[in-house]
């Protein structure tokens, strides 16, 4: 079946512009996570959604970052007034729940480059 789909796969934009990244989770997965992977570093947790509960935004690095999810479907991660340090691969994952025996399935990521 279809896995987690992310778009665009690559995005190059100028400093100061806003960008929007999209994630289509696996159908039926109630939990959705966003992570960031900077060059040479591990993944950093950004935000997660579980069903209709309030999202956990504890990992968002600044108020320039926001994310939305409608129900249990598509999520968008928005970065406003991009900075060069925002350059990274942004990964989305979904799982059938928030229990740790429900593994996260990752998309291929969006590679964001800020000029």
């Amino acid at each position: 079946g279809a896995g987690v789909s992310q778009s665009p796969s690559n995005k190059v934009t100028e400093k100061g512009k806003d960008v929007e990244l999209r994630c289509d989770p696996i159908s039926g997965h109630t939990a959705l996570y966003w992570y960031r992977q900077r060059l040479g570093q591990g993944l950093e947790f950004l935000i997660y959604f579980q069903g209709n509960s309030a999202p956990d935004k504890s990992g968002l690095p600044s108020d320039r970052f926001s994310a939305e999810r409608t129900g249990e479907s598509v999520s968008t991660l928005t970065i406003q007034r991009t900075q060069q340090e925002d350059s990274a691969v942004y990964l989305c994952a979904s799982s059938s729940g928030t229990l740790s025996n429900q593994p996260q399935h990752f998309g291929d990521g969006t590679r964001l480059s800020i000029l």
Binding site: G42, S95, S100, N101
Partner: protein, 112 residues
């Protein structure tokens, strides 16, 4: 709070030789531990996980990892690697909400 340290950033190894990737974690609560693999130009895939029970867990492609609570470690091993094992390997720990904290990754390069 929890964190993961992968002690080796690069591990070159010859084909059919054994490999060990080291991972240590810190956490104030019970943890669940994972190894993910990222093959070249592909997304992250779950390799194996420790949730409870036997401290030795195995994957379908010959990797195994042992949870050692006293040493707070979850090292990954394979007795004989193949060229196709060339990839980046990430150790991760999750909290009760399944939020993952990752190590910085270990790049394994297998040479003939």
């Amino acid at each position: 709070a929890q964190s993961v340290t992968q002690l080796d950033s690069q591990v070159p190894v010859f084909e059919e030789a054994p490999v060990e990737l080291r991972c240590n974690y810190s956490s104030s609560v019970s943890v669940y531990l994972f190894w993910y693999v990222q093959y070249p130009n592909q997304g992250l895939q779950l390799l194996l996980k420790y949730l409870s029970g036997s401290t030795l867990v195995e994957s379908i492609n010959g990797f195994e990892a042992e949870f050692n609570k006293s040493q707070t470690s979850f090292h990954l091993r394979k007795p004989s690697v193949h060229i196709s094992d060339t990839a980046e390997y990430f150790c991760a720990v999750s909290d009760i909400w399944n939020k993952l904290s990752f190590g910085a990754g270990t790049t394994v390069t297998v040479r003939a």
